[in-house]
């Protein structure tokens, strides 16, 4: 847990809606992302974080619009690079609570490389991926998490015929240290998990099932399909792997929680100023 969450910076008096900005979301009525927005504000309130010490970073997509709807600092960057902005920010400003948020396309298609390396690097930030198994913003193409036989992807008529990307398995394989799944349609279940993810030191991955009611109405069924995972949270990567590899994608909960130390670039000032570096150039 980082500095900003300590003593003087907490804000016990704020409630969830104090974390909302007055900007109206562009989302379609019924979009799962509304639930994520609600859950996140509730978590921030629960953690009593001061909005001025929180930065929410995103890429591009429907889901990536979320920073503007929050009363925290925000950065709506370019497609696929949210984690890298978050990394730079957190390394430079360890006192802040950094949350990175976005979609499955942003995070696992164009942003896949940064996802891998964020898991390895273990910088203390929380990554909330709103997965709707498609590209919403560009009006309905397949994403890495789309089912191989999803016929309606507009660039993959007849199906993608590719193995879907399993974010939790790949996350674990790449070294993610905190892995959870929540449902965007069930804020009450999601809040404690998101809070725990934010609290957890190092990189925390929160996979959110967040239905797109416009381009895949079948996702409305997700609400009924999700369930709490039957296994308790493990810190054994092997166990977690076994569980996740046979997971059908609807088990909710904190599915892995390791104890790897967060990325820490030790840099202690050893000289007074730039002038002290000049000696090395003397002939």
């Amino acid at each position: 847990m980082n500095l900003s969450m300590k003593t003087e910076n907490t804000c016990p008096s704020l409630v969830a809606k104090d974390y909302r900005s007055d900007t109206k979301p562009v989302w379609c009525p019924g979009c799962g992302d509304f639930g994520v927005l609600l859950s996140l504000t509730k978590s921030l309130a629960e953690l009593q974080l001061n909005p001025k010490n929180v930065a929410v970073i995103s890429g591009i997509g429907c889901s990536s619009r979320i920073p503007a709807y929050l009363n925290t600092f925000g950065f709506h960057g370019v497609h696929g690079r949210a984690l890298t902005i978050g990394t730079g920010l957190k390394v430079a400003r360890p006192d802040l609570t950094v949350i990175v948020a976005g979609g499955d396309g942003d995070g696992f298609s164009i942003g896949g490389n940064h996802f891998l390396h964020a898991c390895r690097r273990n910088v203390d930030m929380t990554y909330i991926v709103m997965d709707n198994e498609l590209y919403g913003m560009t009006k309905g193409q397949a994403s890495p998490t789309s089912a191989p036989d999803w016929e309606y992807g507009k660039l993959t008529p007849g199906g993608t015929h590719m193995k879907p990307f399993h974010p939790l398995v790949v996350g674990l394989a790449s070294g993610a240290n905190f892995i959870a799944r929540v449902s965007g349609t069930n804020p009450n279940g999601a809040v404690p998990i998101i809070s725990e993810a934010i609290r957890h030191p190092g990189f925390s991955l929160v996979h959110v099932l967040s239905p797109c009611i416009t381009f895949n109405r079948e996702q409305l069924e997700w609400k009924k399909m999700v369930r709490d995972a039957v296994v308790p949270t493990t810190n054994d990567a092997g166990k977690a792997a076994r569980y996740l590899m046979s997971d059908d994608g609807f088990n909710l909960g904190i599915l892995f929680k390791g104890d790897r130390l967060p990325y820490d670039l030790k840099s202690e000032k050893t000289v007074d100023g730039p002038a002290d570096l000049e000696a090395q150039f003397s002939v």
């Binding site: 940064h114 390396h117 202690e268 730039p274 002939v283």
Partner: protein
């Protein structure tokens, strides 16, 4: 004090240690009070292939090689002919080495002295041929043994022990002895006093030091030749000041990490070369639109594509100025000399911070990887002056349409200062907007802050005759050889004006007009194929004079003699 200088190249095949000898010679020359430069050239092998260390030493600071080398000293001649186009000799030049000197050199050089440094080395226990060569070179250039001794001790004692120092010294002495058979060569007179204030530094190190002086405290790194040493130098030195360097997974990550850190209020930088800058242009646009300052150093190499990684070329001007999609005003600078890498980088940090925009610094391999002995460069004093929102309240607007276009930035942690930075077009408060009025307002503001800024005298270096009718215009490392040529011609009575442009973008047509007051003819010289700077001048400056473009792509540096030739041809027209 007139300039006296001497040029020497040492060559050797894989493992011969020619670079070590070259570096030691430069260091020793520096200690003895000379100035100088050393460039390196190597064959295609990744490591340990044939190599050449090319030095020029002088009693005054120098910016480029001469047209010819006075001395070619072969540790051996294996594959030395590979360097024939780089090592130009004439009949005043001498070559020294074992038998079998490549024909290319026998044809051009005046005299040849047979002397096998390898044979001499064999006589000495643990003697190495490159140390013998060092001795030969030192003797010819009149570098005192004491200076060599200091250098040997400094570089060998700790790592390799006293024995290594002793045997090396013995080899050096043997080399010196052998060289006494060679008629002595007029060498520059060193001023031992000067040494105290002199620096031995590469352009890449100078960029790193300039960055730190400018206030950079976060660096994101992805290695690429020939920019890597900027990053490597920072990796060791930045932490000493509490700064941080993160090795990123790729250039998309590195530039965005820098943007993230800068959003947090920490002046940030990355360095790369052509292929990397190409990957960064999307996010350079994000830096423009979100008004998050960053500095990107592009140490240019031969292009296009992977091109010629280890050789210099000034061919990234186009991408640096025009490589962003949409209309994306930003700043592009280019240091003119190795020493100038310090000031230009420091100034660039200042400009980025002041204007909340990306600043691209166009250095190049010739500056970056050349080591020079120069007078120590004082701190130029530029510090980050980012406009910060003070006590923002509910009316705070991150992208307020201010008079000078610069809008105070609220840093995370600031009470009531929350906003969302955005690469989407936005209102003054930062809310996404596709309205014409918002778009036009923000476009105008982003342009105004840069176009309206007073860049002062740093924008260019002008020298030569005020009443000259002919001017040479250039940028980047070509400035060195051109200065040399212009000085030579002026000393022979020709009136010339020389302008080295340091601020590539935004263009400064008014300032240029003043500088070119009496000028009728302008020769634009640069090291690329399409005349990028020349076309840029045509597009963004209104020059009354007749303009001619001389554009010669890399990999060979432009030589003073070429410049003199062009100037002679041109002035006769």
């Amino acid at each position: 004090m007139t300039e006296q200088s001497i040029s020497i190249t040492m060559t050797g095949s894989g493992g011969s240690g020619v670079m070590t000898a070259g570096n030691m010679l430069l260091d020793a020359a520096g200690r003895s009070g000379l100035f100088g430069i050393m460039t390196r050239s190597a064959g295609p092998q990744i490591r340990g292939g044939e190599a050449a260390a090319m030095l020029r030493l002088s009693n005054k600071p120098i910016l480029s090689h001469k047209d010819q080398f006075d001395i070619l000293l072969g540790i051996d001649w294996k594959n030395a002919d590979l360097f024939a186009s780089e090592i130009v000799l004439d009949n005043n030049s001498i070559t020294i080495g074992e038998t079998g000197i490549p024909q290319a050199f026998t044809e051009s050089a005046g005299r040849h002295y047979e002397l096998s440094v390898a044979e001499i080395a064999k006589q000495i226990p643990d003697g190495r041929a490159n140390m013998v060569a060092l001795g030969v070179a030192a003797k010819l250039i009149s570098i005192p043994l004491s200076a060599i001794k200091e250098v040997l001790t400094k570089s060998l004692l700790k790592q390799k022990g006293e024995g290594a120092v002793r045997s090396s010294l013995e080899a050096v002495e043997a080399g010196m002895a052998a060289a006494s058979a060679i008629p002595s060569i007029p060498a520059p007179t060193a001023d031992p006093e000067a040494a105290a204030n002199n620096w031995s530094i590469t352009g890449n190190e100078a960029c790193g030091m300039g960055a730190i002086r400018g206030g950079i405290r976060f660096v994101a790194a992805y290695p690429i030749t020939p920019a890597t040493e900027v990053l490597e130098w920072l990796a060791t030195n930045l932490p000493k000041l509490g700064g941080k360097l993160v090795q990123a997974e790729d250039e998309l990550a590195s530039i965005n990490q820098a943007i993230g850190a800068s959003f947090g209020g920490v002046p940030s930088l990355t360095a790369t070369s052509g292929p990397g800058i190409a990957l960064m242009t999307e996010s350079l646009g994000l830096s423009v639109a979100s008004e998050t300052p960053i500095v990107v150093i592009d140490v240019m190499r031969g292009g296009p594509s992977t091109g010629i990684p280890a050789k210099s070329e000034q061919s990234d001007l186009n991408i640096a100025v025009f490589g962003l999609h949409g209309d994306a005003p930003h700043v592009v600078t280019a240091p003119l000399t190795i020493a100038d890498c310090l000031m230009t980088t420091q100034w660039s940090v200042y400009l980025a911070e002041k204007l909340q925009t990306p600043t691209i610094v166009l250095s190049d391999q010739a500056l970056g990887q050349t080591r020079a002995v120069i007078p120590g460069v004082p701190d130029a004093g530029y510090e980050p002056e980012r406009a910060i929102a003070v006590n923002p309240d509910k009316t705070y607007q991150r992208y307020a349409d201010t008079e000078n276009g610069v809008s105070p930035m609220s840093l995370p942690g600031t009470e009531s200062g929350q906003y969302t930075a955005d690469g989407l077009e936005h209102t003054q408060s930062g809310r996404p907007s596709s309205k014409a009025e918002d778009h036009h307002r923000q476009m105008n503001k982003r342009l105004r802050k840069i176009k309206g800024f007073d860049f002062g005298d740093n924008w260019a270096e002008a020298s030569g005759d005020d009443d000259a009718e002919i001017a040479v215009l250039t940028w980047g490392s070509s400035f060195g050889a051109i200065s040399q040529a212009v000085e030579e011609l002026r000393q022979s009575g020709q009136k010339l004006r020389l302008i080295g442009v340091r601020l590539i973008s935004p263009a400064q047509p008014e300032r240029m007009k003043k500088l070119l007051n009496n000028v009728k003819k302008v020769l634009v010289i640069e090291q690329n194929h399409s005349g990028q700077f020349y076309h840029y001048l045509k597009a963004y400056y209104d020059l009354d004079a007749e303009i001619k473009s001389i554009a010669i792509p890399g990999p060979l540096p432009i030589l003073p003699s070429q410049v003199r030739q062009y100037l002679r041809d041109w002035s006769q027209i």
